[in-house]
């Protein structure tokens, strides 16, 4: 009889031990699976990040080049009395620079006189009276640019304050 009780006790102990081991095994297996899944997910995220980086990684250099393009445009606009061929050459160089930027995903923002101010694309730098409705764009002072649909520079614009009342 005693012997049987002892055996039963042993069985109970072994079962508890087995339970503990099974639970531990589950925990470990779960941890291992999670670690593997984490790594796979990390790799996927990293690939996405890298793709984003390759796309937008040159944003800073493009911004710098846009500043050069601004100066170029101002330069061409200020040039008078010059040999037409020289002028044509200057414009071709400017086009070259614009094409290079376009090839790398840069696009100029279109701004039309009289369109309503949109802070998602425009940055207001001043106001003036004009024939256009109050709050609409009168003049683009500096061009804005998109890089793969992200506004990397808003176009700087002057807005209309409406017509002068006494006019």
């Amino acid at each position: 009889m005693d012997e049987e009780i002892k055996k039963e006790e042993e069985v109970v102990i072994e079962e508890t031990e087995l339970d503990r081991c099974s639970k531990e095994r589950e925990e470990y297996l779960d941890g291992w699976r999670r670690a593997k899944a984490d790594l796979i997910n990390f790799k996927k995220e990293e690939a996405g990040r890298l793709a984003g980086f390759l796309k937008n990684g040159n944003e800073n250099i493009i911004k710098d080049l846009i500043t050069v393009l601004d100066s170029f445009e101002l330069g061409i606009a200020a040039t008078t009395e010059v040999n037409p061929e020289v002028m044509k050459g200057m414009i071709l160089i400017k086009n070259q620079l614009e094409d290079a930027l376009r090839r790398h995903g840069t696009e100029k923002l279109e701004v039309k006189k009289g369109e309503m101010f949109d802070p998602a694309r425009h940055e207001a730098i001043g106001e003036m009276h004009s024939e256009y409705p109050d709050g609409s764009v009168v003049e683009e002072v500096e061009g804005g640019y998109l890089l793969y649909n992200k506004v990397i520079r808003a176009s700087k614009v002057r807005l209309s304050k409406g017509e002068i009342n006494n006019k």
């Binding site: 500043t67 802070p119 808003a154």
Partner: protein, 631 residues
């Protein structure tokens, strides 16, 4: 489980971060930027704008564009600070019914809490869009000097924005968390925060209660100037440039908005550039024009000049630091400067070398500056969020290798197999070859340390793999595998791919170096870095020379009678010269002799090709096998 957002709600800019995979990650906003201007506006078309969009219309809508609302939140209208600010803020404020402040935007009056909540709402929406999940909980940071009412008002702002505010924590504490302070015990930390519009200094004391096993962070003193910031520095630079231009050209460009804008951008860029270079050129073609035609702007700005322009502002910040640390309570912490264990730099302006230098000189020790100073507070807030969520509690502690584990290769060089700080368990396999012809055994010498020469590192084990079939050098492929298990036990095995023979060794103590020993080895590596590098280069050059000698001897041998006697003699002479200089440590001489020999050797190739052309073999790559042999 939904993530808890950490938000640094700043006076000028805000930032947000979440814990991702156990690490704080800064989130970009909808516009793709990592910081968001803390600005809200009611546009002329009665549209509510927040962040960058609000900033873009500020010039034409100053009365309805609310910025710096953090200066007003939770304060009484009668506060000296509020009175002072009301004089320069372009929007309207008035005393509220409860004695607080009300702000006018559009045709309505708002509390500063409501305005702040609009910024928080934008951050919430942008974070949700970025993460693709709903976010309900938040940790928001506030300056250490904020009183109960300012903290409560900030909390209210969070709740109005739809968050459950899990905690309001101090900005310097958040910064300290980002630098790992949540694992520190008994340290005194000074946090120097030079932001866009404000300067704060905080002295923290981190304690540890052994009984409750809890860390305590006590703010011992705060100080600063709410009207000193990076914007003041920018203004100094712009004013200087305008006055210089006036001197040069007699034109005041500050009247022209586009010229001012271009100048402002150029000045900011110059300031950033001068953090890493000593001189920069501010070049703005066609900035303006007068009766004589277009005018350009070209001025050189040196780092010394920049520092000269802002020296008094830096000095002022340093005086405030001194006061906060050394003055007796309640003005300061009543400590000595040398009592401070760690100094943390926060705020974009602390990238300026002159500021880092001034802080270093004051405390006599290097400040921490590894983390992006614009993002460090937000990152700390998300670490606090992670602690609340139970994320920052390493369930599975994974150790790292404290020092690199290397194998000795030709010339006594220690070639790292597992770099230091690699998370364990890990394994790495690499194929090596023999250094001499008919070499039938290789010695695998395993070492630990950062020095490039094996002799300077600690040897862990050596064993010999023999039974490699005799073959020319470089031909046998010996695959060596380093494997460290989670307990830091390193197993190294080497296997000859041709014979299949292998040998291995198990090293139990690869990571059991004590802290002092690791530190000593690291310091030695740092101290000898320069001379070690020189030695490594010499060995590399010598190895190249040896390869060249081997290739030349083989080339002459293989070409046999095809090589004219004179050329053969000349090559042999050059081989002898190289062998002689190789024994000395003159890198240039060895390099020259190697190049000489290489040039001479090419003549064999020319002759062989010529021969091939003379006996056309229908373009058969007859020499392919030979070429492979020399690799």
């Amino acid at each position: 489980m939904a993530k808890i957002l950490g938000i640094d709600l700043g006076t000028t800019n805000s930032a947000m971060s979440v814990m991702d995979g156990g690490e704080p990650t800064v989130l970009e906003n909808q516009e793709g930027n990592r910081t968001t201007p803390s600005i809200v506006a009611m546009s002329k078309t009665n549209e509510r704008l927040s962040g960058l969009l609000a900033k873009r219309q500020a010039v034409v809508n100053p009365k309805n564009t609310i910025f710096s609302v953090k200066r007003l939140i939770g304060r009484k209208f009668s506060d000296v600070e509020v009175q002072r600010d009301s004089k320069w803020l372009p929007y309207e404020i008035k005393e509220s019914a409860s004695g607080g402040v009300d702000v006018k935007m559009g045709d309505r009056w708002y509390t500063p809490e409501e305005i702040s909540s609009m910024i928080l709402q934008k951050l919430k929406a942008d974070a949700e869009a970025k993460l693709g999940e709903k976010i309900d909980e938040v940790v928001i940071t506030v300056p250490a000097y904020f009183d109960d009412s300012e903290r409560q008002a900030t909390k209210n702002a969070g709740e109005i924005a739809g968050f459950k505010v899990r905690r309001i924590i101090n900005e310097p504490t958040a910064a300290a968390f980002a630098y790992g302070a949540n694992k520190m015990k008994n340290e005194k930390i000074a946090v120097y925060d030079f932001g866009g519009g404000t300067f704060d200094i905080s002295v923290l004391e981190i304690g540890y209660d052994a009984e409750s096993k809890e860390q305590t962070v006590e703010v011992r003193a705060t100080g600063g100037d709410t009207h000193l910031g990076g914007d003041d520095l920018d203004k100094r630079v712009i004013d200087y440039l305008v006055s210089e231009y006036k001197k040069q050209e007699g034109i005041d460009v500050s009247k022209d908005p586009l010229a001012t804008q271009r100048l402002k951008e150029a000045a900011e860029r110059a300031k950033h550039e001068l953090s890493t270079s000593l001189e920069t050129e501010i070049n703005i073609p066609y900035i303006t024009s007068d009766a004589t035609g277009p005018k350009h702007f070209l001025i050189k700005l040196t780092r010394a000049k920049l520092e000269d322009l802002v020296r008094d502002l830096i000095d002022r910040s340093i005086e405030l630091v001194k006061e906060a640390v050394t003055a007796q309570a309640p003005k300061g912490a009543g400590m000595k400067l040398e009592d401070i264990n760690e100094i943390l730099l926060v705020g974009g302006q602390t990238r300026m070398p002159a500021i880092q230098e001034a802080v270093k000189n004051l405390f006599g020790k290097e400040p921490h500056k590894g983390i992006n100073p614009d993002e460090v507070v937000a990152m700390g807030a998300s670490i606090q969020a992670g602690i609340l969520q139970g994320d920052v509690k390493d369930i599975l502690l994974l150790d790292v290798t404290p020092l690199s584990l290397s194998i000795e290769t030709m010339g006594g060089v220690a070639t790292p197999m597992i770099q230091k700080n690699t998370t364990m368990p890990t394994a790495k396999t690499q194929v090596f070859s023999t250094a001499a012809d008919n070499q039938t055994s290789v010695e695998i010498h395993i070492g630990q340390g950062e020095r490039p020469m094996m002799a300077d590192n600690k040897t862990l084990a050596r064993f010999i793999l023999d039974g490699i079939p005799p073959s020319p050098r470089g031909m046998p492929q010996v695959e060596v595998t380093f494997d460290i298990d989670a307990n830091g036990i390193l197993s190294v095995s080497a296997k000859d791919k041709a014979s299949g023979k292998s040998q291995s060794v198990k090293i139990e103590a690869s990571t059991s170096l004590n802290k002092e020993e690791i530190e000593r080895l690291k310091q030695e590596a740092a101290a000898h870095a320069a001379e070690d590098e020189k030695r490594r280069i010499i060995i590399e050059i010598k190895n190249q020379a040896e390869s060249m000698i081997y290739v030349s001897e083989k080339g002459v041998r293989d070409a046999g009678e095809k090589v004219p006697a004179e050329l053969k003699e000349s090559i042999e002479k050059k081989i002898a010269t190289l062998k002689e200089v190789k024994e000395k440590d003159d890198a240039d001489a060895i390099k020259n002799a190697t190049q000489d020999l290489s040039a001479e050797l090419q003549k064999i190739g020319e002759i062989m090709y010529k021969d091939n052309k003379e006996t056309p073999a229908a373009g058969e790559p007859k020499d392919a096998g030979e070429e492979q042999g020399t690799q």
